[in-house]
């Protein structure tokens, strides 16, 4: 395989978890909820996907468990935000801390138990590449982009969801159940993020480690902002970040004198620069984003 092919393959592979998480985040943000708990939902997906995959021997069942685990954490966020009317930002950060605690602790306990009972090392089965060196999850992630676009921009349900994000009071007045809509959006966002997390523990490494998502949820969050809250823009941003991280790995492997930190910083710096200079106030953000209703 030549260098360009290898690089493209790596860019898609690294971009997959970002793409999955970002598509979910996009749906929820368009409904007006800023989900900082995305990192926690990914971590939940990575851990429970790993455990289920390891327990059943099937990566597919692992991915299904990840989907449910991510959705469960997002459901908790939705209850906090929609029922208790807690602040979205603080609740999201709290869920990140809790998810880091639960998965880290449970994994260490599981590992201790496993190693004590004579196991060698804790590994899960992985998804095998199906087409062009990519696994099923990567293809699912790519396929989800037009689907999410169609749902948000062309379907009646998507129109309702966007109305909820722009002006919840008006949406409620025209007969849309704002809480139900946001709750469903949160479930979808959690499921997407969980699947993105499962990709990390069932496709890239077959193992889990404490805090293995390592800020990828926040990169996905940045991609949504940079993609101006559109499905195509967000997907482009995710794949661009995937390419940047793939380039970092390639430079390191080639022993080039390029500081990897510069490329690691790229998603965050680029997002801030875009917000300040390019997007100005035309960010495309829903009017009611982050506001309680």
């Amino acid at each position: 395989m030549d260098l360009a092919q290898e690089f493209t393959s790596a860019a898609f592979r690294i971009g997959t978890p970002l793409l999955l998480a970002a598509m979910g985040e996009l749906i929820l943000e368009r409904a007006g909820v800023l989900n900082l708990g995305i990192e926690g939902a990914m971590l939940f997906g990575a851990f429970f996907g790993f455990v289920a995959g390891w327990g059943t021997g099937s990566p597919l069942l692992g991915a299904a468990a990840a989907l449910l685990a991510g959705a469960a954490l997002a459901a908790l966020l939705a209850v906090m935000v929609l029922r208790v009317k807690a602040d979205q930002i603080v609740a999201g950060m709290a869920l990140n801390l809790a998810a880091l605690g639960i998965t880290g602790t449970a994994y260490r306990a599981l590992e201790n138990h496993f190693l004590r009972s004579g196991g060698a090392s804790l590994l899960a089965p992985t998804f095998a590449p199906v087409l062009f060196e990519q696994t099923l999850l990567t293809w699912a992630a790519l396929l989800s982009v037009p689907l999410v676009w169609y749902y948000l921009e062309r379907s009646e349900r998507g129109l309702e969801l966007r109305a909820v994000g722009e002006n919840p009071a008006a949406a409620e007045a025209s007969g849309v159940n704002v809480s139900a809509c946001r709750f469903k959006a949160a479930l979808a966002a959690g499921a997407f993020a969980g699947l993105g997390g499962a990709f990390l523990s069932l496709s890239q490494t077959a193992s889990f480690s404490s805090n293995c998502t390592n800020g990828r949820g926040f990169v996905a969050l940045a991609a949504v902002v940079l993609g101006r809250y559109s499905a195509w823009g967000t997907a482009a941003a995710c794949l661009f970040f995937g390419a940047a991280f793939a380039a970092r790995d390639r430079f390191q492997a080639a022993g080039w004198n390029v500081q990897p930190e510069v490329l690691e910083m790229l998603p965050y710096v680029l997002t801030l620069l875009a917000l300040v200079f390019a997007l100005r106030r035309r960010t495309g953000a829903p009017a009611a984003l982050g506001k309680p209703y």
Binding site: V84, A91, M93, A94, A98, A99, T105, P292
Partner: protein, 358 residues
């Protein structure tokens, strides 16, 4: 008393006991999963947090860091600013203090001067880092949540960057990536290897000064008004935008000061200088009801938990990650009990502002 608004919401009242119960069950399960008798685990926690002079030294040093970041967050949230950037401001304060301390500070300086210079540098750097987010919000309407989150992530990468290369701050004499050691004039007086340092004594005056500012000055009144209802505050002649800028800078300075203190206590810059304390500080500030004086006991409790859990991991084999779980659940429990932040209520106000601009 001007505490954040409390409500008695049926769902909140329902969730609070469930969350507490959940914590207890989870903790018991974790302890059992590790094959440890719960009583032994708690004994390890208690003796590790407060059982010896070394334990107290580490706990109080952690408390100082949590206290400065907690004060920074309490101040911002009071003013209706969702500045979650204490983590980044702390790190940037530590990096700047390390840069000045190892590259510029003359060796012959007497220690009070060297320490003061580095504290000032850390505070200035933290304030500057925070002001970036403040300026983005003020002049470009960028959400401070996104801005401070991105700045946190950038600051952490900067930390890894600076301690990785000898032409930056890395100590060329070691194999590990860590910063050069600070000169003697930047050494905080300690207490015989217990981890306790003189910086702990700065927390009480800092909390008192902030309490006085927030509750007993005009500036504090403006700050609280801007948090509770920016539109009404503006109508009363309070320059809300300017007040917010000052809050960004002051809270950044507090977090940066904590960074400089942590650096001087450690003696050199490392990759893991109190990691994630800027996020834990959110729990500290919320548990303190955003009151500057209550931040002190709140920070002490979380610091006891933090050092105790490290000891519990060493002696009883219980993963120290359990602290993150407890902190997350404490925040959720406080939120579900009906703690409302001033900024949440201001939502209607900011919507009106946005409408006014359009």
């Amino acid at each position: 008393m001007s505490s954040p608004e409390r409500r008695t919401d049926s769902a909140g009242a329902f969730l609070w006991p469930i969350l507490i119960l959940g914590v207890a069950v989870l903790l018991a399960l974790i302890v059992m999963a590790c094959g440890v008798e719960p009583r032994a685990a708690f004994a390890a926690l208690a003796s590790g947090a407060a059982g010896s002079s070394i334990a107290w030294g580490q706990t109080l040093a952690s408390m100082a860091v949590l206290c400065f970041s907690g004060l920074a967050i309490a101040l911002s949230f009071r003013a209706g600013i969702f500045n979650i950037g204490a983590e980044g401001q702390f790190v940037v304060g530590a990096i700047a203090a390390a840069a000045v301390g190892t590259k510029l500070l003359p060796e012959a300086l007497p220690w009070p001067l060297g320490v003061s210079v580095l504290l000032a540098v850390g505070a200035a750097a933290g304030a500057g880092w925070s002001a970036v987010a403040g300026a983005m919000k003020r002049w470009r309407g960028v959400s401070e949540v996104i801005a401070t989150l991105m700045l946190n992530l950038i600051a952490l990468i900067l930390l890894h960057f600076t301690v990785s290369y000898p032409y930056l701050l890395r100590d060329p004499g070691t194999i590990e990536s860590k910063g050069s050691s600070l000169p003697a004039c930047a050494a905080l007086p300690g207490w015989g290897g217990t981890g306790f340092h003189a910086g702990v004594f700065l927390t009480l005056p800092a909390a008192l000064v902030l309490w006085a500012i927030v509750y007993h000055t005009r500036a504090g009144l403006s700050l609280r008004a801007a948090g509770l209802n920016p539109v009404a505050a503006q109508a009363c002649g309070i320059p809300v935008e300017r007040v917010r800028m000052r809050v960004f800078a002051l809270s950044g300075a507090l977090a940066g000061l904590g960074g400089a203190l942590a650096l001087m206590a450690a003696g050199r810059l490392t990759k893991s200088l109190y990691p994630d304390y800027g996020y834990m500080a959110i729990a500290v500030a919320l548990a303190a009801n955003l009151h500057p004086l209550l931040v002190l006991p709140s920070a002490l409790i979380f610091a006891l938990l933090e050092t105790g859990s490290k000891a519990m991991e060493r002696s009883a084999g219980i993963p120290s990650e359990v602290v993150y779980l407890i902190e997350g659940l404490v925040i959720l429990a406080l939120l579900s009990r009906g703690l409302r932040l001033p900024g949440s209520r201001a939502a209607a106000g900011t919507a009106a502002e946005a409408g006014g601009e359009a």
